[in-house]
């Protein structure tokens, strides 16, 4: 799992959103995961941005289509439209700014208002490299994640710590659901509805789709 893969060949496509307060490091987590880049002074995200990366789960190629949204409240009206059809979310706060952790609750509500309640959510405490500035303890965040029934991880986009893991964990969870269900039906994963490739994030809501064998030629 985790190998880079050519962009044009994949078995599953999952739409994932990155949300959380402005400045917590969403865009840098994304650029670290998709391009292995980090920038010290990155411009604020206006509206939404987008990137993709494929990883391997078992023998399958899972492609993540990741939407990075603006953190400022004012943009909520525009960005929440992009939650539609997401099957995974990384909800990011900054471990050095407690207020960004306090706001996680609001973001969670936002997410649950706009997506299916069963979306896979990963709470992400970013900037873990700034140890001397830490303002949110791991215990507090773990407790919160348990209560809210989300996954939890601490990351550093700067040091590339756990970034890979945060994204792949979310993708793997979604993938397992899909493939496990397929096994139960007693068929290969192609048992899922046929003929779909994907037009995700555009006019269709479809966000986790199995590419049907007949079309992948």
């Amino acid at each position: 799992m985790g190998a880079y893969k050519a962009d044009d060949d994949y078995d599953y496509l999952f739409k994932v959103v990155l949300i959380g307060d402005s400045g917590v490091g969403k865009s840098n987590l994304l650029s670290r995961f998709t391009r292995n880049e980090f920038s010290l002074e990155s411009k604020s995200t206006i509206g939404v941005e987008f990137a993709t990366r494929s990883i391997r789960c078992d023998e399958k190629v899972v492609k993540a289509q990741i939407w990075d949204t603006a953190g400022q409240e004012r943009y909520r009206a525009i960005t929440s439209a992009y939650y539609r059809g997401a099957v995974g979310a990384l909800l990011v706060y900054d471990v050095t700014r407690h207020v960004t952790f306090e706001n996680v609750e609001r973001w969670l509500k936002e997410l649950r208002d706009h997506t299916d309640a069963n979306i896979v959510i990963m709470l992400v405490g970013n900037k873990a490299d700034l140890r001397h500035l830490r303002a949110v303890s791991t215990e507090d965040a773990t407790g919160f994640a348990e209560r809210e029934n989300t996954f939890f991880i601490e990351t550093s986009a700067l040091e590339a710590t756990n970034v890979e893991k945060a994204f792949t964990e979310v993708l793997t969870q979604i993938y397992h659901v899909v493939s496990k269900k397929a096994l139960e039906i007693g068929d290969d994963p192609a048992a899922l509805p046929k003929g779909q490739t994907i037009n995700v994030g555009s006019k269709d809501d479809v966000s986790a789709v199995k590419k049907a064998g007949c079309c992948s030629a």
Binding site: F38, Q72, I119, F151, V177, T197
Partner: protein, 460 residues
Amino acid sequence: MKNSTTTNINHHKEEQQHHPKNDPSTVSSIDSRFNQTLKNVQGLLKGRSIPGKVLLTRRAEPPDDPSIQSPTFGRSFSENDAGGRDHMHKSTEEKDQSTSKRNNEGANMLNPSTSNIDNTSKETHKSPMTARATDSTRVTKFTKELSVPTVRLERLRELGWSGVPPYMRPIVWRLLLGYAPPNSDRREGVLRRKRLEYLDCVAQFYDIPDTERSDDEINMLRQIAVDCPRTVPDVTFFQQEQVQKSLERILYTWAIRHPASGYVQGINDLVTPFLVVFLSEYLEGDVDNWSVSNLSPEKISDIEADCYWCLSKLLDGMQDHYTFAQPGIQRLVFKLKELVRRIDEPVSRHIEEQGLEFLQFAFRWFNCLLIREIPFHLVTRLWDTYLAEGDALPDFLVYIFASFLLTWSEKLQKLDFQEMVMFLQHLPTQNWTHQELEMVLSRAYMWHSMFNSSPSHLAS
């Protein structure tokens, strides 16, 4: 000074500093989550049938667009291009040769099959518009216009539309924005008063302890503080601490005085053209080598005040661009979509077929007035035209942005949804010169004259 370049840190092996109990799998029951997520996925899939295969070919580095390199179209004004473009101004509608020429070109542009940029540039190529007067003629016109006791703003707009000589920008911009009065006798007095007024505002709103601020105000200040270091980070000048402090004071003071919108991310970008233009009265050479540490506090305060007032004037004309849900921007994005449909049917259809929403890319264009999309050294020239448009700016932006977008008309038609989003997020403008920008503006001007005067017959 902080380094603004992107650092590629080698992919460390993911450290195991992760405490076992944080392991996501222990946080909730995997099985129950599987089932929940499955329901979700199935719900999303229900009743869907999506035809075809999406081709996801790796996008090559965008080649230099040959269409934007027609050298003879070089009306790149810069400071040495003089005049010759006044006839381009839309208020100058004399029935001369160039007008009819323009209309001919316009007719071609209506035909979808010829509406790509290559054709445009060829057409323009042959156009006689490249003839122009000399530098000094143009500078003389500005000098003359500025030296009269009461500046005729309409005349200044016509001149300014095609680019203002850099050293005249500070005065011309103040006039065009209505910050400095046209009457030269009153000018110094008004500016002095306004600058004092700004100082008062800063003292009253900014220089106070946090205990005197409301929660909303604290939030706003926090957001501004997050954004100042991230403002035009590719220009190292803006990384200077003093510059960022100025930016913070301007933005916060503006936000407090404009409660209907308050601070909205992206407004920080809009201050930067004003900062470089008003600082250029005191600093010489390349912006990247500027240092504000030698300027007296009084000078810095004056410059800040000018930025503040000019920002206010600029945004007065776009009040609802930054209020809740940003209706002004949404309206313009809609207009842009309509205009593109009328100008370039094929690309418009392609965008629609791919399910790409204009809001996905054009929102940032309107929000930051294209500052994010072109090299910073071209921004002030672009703003000459913005400010010359005055009250008509919001509507004219639609034409500029249509022209900007259709620079890549052909390219876009070869991309699928995902490739288009990525392409439009990072448009290949890094190597743009004045020439490409002038091209965008001229075409915008041309379309504006055509579509604005005869909107109905173009709708077919």
